[in-house]
């Protein structure tokens, strides 16, 4: 009631209260709006966060059901596990490098085309991007097998005499993985290239830079954020990749994700699988965290679309 008094003092408190109330209302409104994300958050919490937390817990349970570090100790001691981690890194690294070597020229070429032509070329990137992973893996399996198209044609053309083994080894794994990862590199790189103001290049050539020089000193440095974002995306996706290496590697190329699956499916050893999973997760998150210090992660994940 005092708020209704006409004294100057009362006026002040009323305004003060109003401001406070408004602030509170606004905060409530913001929280309500934030609450709109709660259904999605609850889904992720129950199906991802809690179960992964549980995996973390299980990784510290030994074969006898008590707390132990044996799952991690085994990983450090066993040569086989060391080899699996090395293979995973090698395959991821090689795939990323190959994607850069193949994807960058294509993105560069597309970025210089007039819009309509660039859109047509873009289809060659998007068509595989939208096609099922399994279909593409299957296609390579069929093409690269011993009696497959590649060997048949190469032999009839006289390129080589005996069929070369392309699948069920590292070659096949890399070919398939590069094909699947390429769009993840090309899209953000292309985006970065399109955003470059062409006047920079004109300025460079006006100042006497040769095309090669202006490419390396002006164009290329401006594309590195996109290239880096794409490469990171490819590398991180490769670390946890399962389907393509499992099919095209034919059991010869064993990655961490495949070992996790076989630990559960074949040996029903949740402890060992969880420990591997925790290490894989930590490596993945550490890679992303280090990268997030150099670039905006939102651009990385948004880059692919």
């Amino acid at each position: 009631m005092t708020n209704n008094s006409l004294s100057t003092h009362g006026q002040k408190t009323r305004d003060g209260n109003n401001a406070k109330e408004l602030r509170r209302d606004e905060l409530l409104e913001r929280l309500r709006l934030f609450g709109l994300s709660s259904p999605a958050l609850i889904f992720v919490l129950f199906i991802l966060v809690i179960p992964v937390g549980w995996l973390f817990f299980v990784s510290f349970i030994g074969a006898d059901g008590t707390f132990s570090m044996e799952n991690y100790e085994r990983m450090i001691r066993s040569k086989a596990y060391g080899r699996i981690f090395r293979t995973t890194f090698e395959v991821s690294f090689l795939t990323t490098v190959l994607c850069i070597l193949i994807g960058y020229p294509l993105a560069y070429f597309m970025s210089q085309l007039p819009r309509r032509l660039a859109n047509i070329c873009m289809i060659t990137v998007l068509l595989p991007f939208w096609t099922s992973l399994l279909v593409r893996t299957y296609a390579w399996l069929v093409l690269l097998q011993k009696r497959g198209l590649v060997n048949d044609w190469a032999i009839s053309l006289g390129l080589w005499e005996e069929p070369i083994k392309f699948v069920h080894n590292l070659n096949g794994t890399l070919i398939g993985m590069v094909h699947i990862m390429l769009p993840f590199l090309i899209l953000p790189t292309y985006g970065a290239m399109k955003a470059i103001d062409k006047d920079y290049l004109k300025a460079a050539s006006n100042l006497g830079a040769s095309p090669v020089r202006s490419f390396w000193t002006v164009f290329f440095p401006l594309t590195t954020p996109g290239l880096f974002a794409g490469s990171l995306m490819v590398f991180v996706l490769c670390l946890g990749f399962f389907v393509t290496p499992a099919v095209l590697g034919g059991g010869k190329v064993i990655l961490v994700s495949m070992k996790i699956v076989s630990n559960i499916e074949l040996f029903v050893n949740w402890g060992a699988a969880s420990a591997l999973g925790v290490v894989l997760l930590v490596i993945t998150m550490a890679t992303l965290w280090i990268a997030s210090r150099f670039l905006n992660l939102q651009n990385v994940v948004g880059g692919g679309h």
């Binding site: 929280l31 309500r32 709006l33 934030f34 609450g35 709109l36 994300s37 259904p39 999605a40 958050l41 889904f43 992720v44 919490l45 129950f46 199906i47 991802l48 179960p51 992964v52 549980w54 995996l55 020229p105 294509l106 560069y108 070429f109 210089q112 060659t124 068509l127 595989p128 939208w130 096609t131 099922s132 992973l133 399994l134 279909v135 893996t137 299957y138 296609a139 399996l141 069929v142 093409l143 094909h179 390429l182 062409k198 004109k202 460079a204 050539s205 095309p211 946890g240 399962f242 389907v243 099919v247 994700s257 996790i260 999973g277 894989l280 993945t284 992303l288 994940v301 948004g302 679309h305």
Partner: protein, 272 residues
């Protein structure tokens, strides 16, 4: 042709002729990107046990094999149902989450955003065994709902990113104008904002559908029994042998994705 070769490629570039290597390289890359999947289509019409290109004898033998198999038919129905339901669940919760994160300016938005795109970052094998565990506890393993639940969290990040990007380029003042004229927030959103970001919402829905339809690793763990999925069965078949039936299934899947892409393009054109 010779004249074209000696012309500069752009105002600041060397001539087309000295960039010829780039054009050849790019052509090879583009062929290698598209050809492998396209070659599967004619191959699927081969009569041979070994897939040939071009087929010596054409037949629809492998299609008959697919459509005639109860097992494959069962495995086709489930992913369609799952993908459709995933789309129906993931799109609205993703869109309202995107709207919520876009409009509320609370300090923990970043954390919420990172949590919501987690399923994209976490290796899918971990999502799969995590979901497997959760569904054993919830006693919904091997049911359609378990597939829908797990695929929904895989689809939400895509919805969030696509719709979020659209909201960023959308002028919120339009909605504010409607609200200042007395429309409640939900009504302003539904009648003013939603129609303008509809392309992103439709794209999100299509991506949700495809994410679920295409997903293999999670399906490998949590689908089975009465609810096997096409991709799960395909994956198992691929590990064992190269069954030409897969070629016909692949062709059908290529058709489905192409159809989705065309749909997305049509909606995209409508916007501009």
């Amino acid at each position: 042709m010779l004249k074209w070769l000696s012309q500069p490629a752009t105002e600041t570039q060397v001539s087309h002729g000295s960039r010829l290597w780039l054009y050849i390289l790019v052509t090879i890359i583009m062929v290698l990107l598209v050809a492998p999947t396209l070659i599967v289509i004619p191959m699927s019409f081969s009569d041979s046990q070994y897939l040939e290109f071009p087929p010596e004898i054409w037949s629809t033998r492998w299609y008959q094999n697919y459509f005639g198999s109860d097992e494959w038919m069962l495995a086709t129905r489930t992913p369609f149902k799952a993908a459709f339901l995933t789309m129906l669940v993931a799109t609205p919760i993703g869109v309202i989450a995107a709207y919520g994160l876009h409009t509320s300016r609370v300090p923990f938005i970043r954390l919420a955003f990172v949590t919501l795109i987690m399923p994209m970052m976490v290796p899918v094998v971990l999502v799969a065994i995590g979901a497997f565990y959760a569904f054993v506890k919830l006693k919904v393993l091997y049911t359609l709902s378990s597939l829908v639940l797990a695929h929904t969290i895989m689809a939400v990040p895509l919805v969030l990113i696509v719709t979020g990007a659209a909201l960023k380029s959308y002028d919120m003042n339009q909605e504010n104008a409607a609200r200042s004229l007395g429309a409640p927030r939900w009504k302003a959103f539904l009648t003013i904002t939603l129609p303008q970001i509809r392309f992103a919402v439709v794209t999100s829905a299509l991506l949700s559908f495809l994410t679920s339809f295409d997903e293999v690793v999670i399906a490998m763990f949590i689908s089975g029994g009465d609810n096997p999925t096409l991709t799960r069965n395909m994956f198992n078949a691929l590990r064992d042998q190269i069954d030409p039936t897969i070629a016909s299934i692949s062709t059908i899947m290529i058709l489905i994705t192409t159809l989705m892409m065309v749909l997305a393009q049509l909606f995209g054109r409508e916007r501009s």
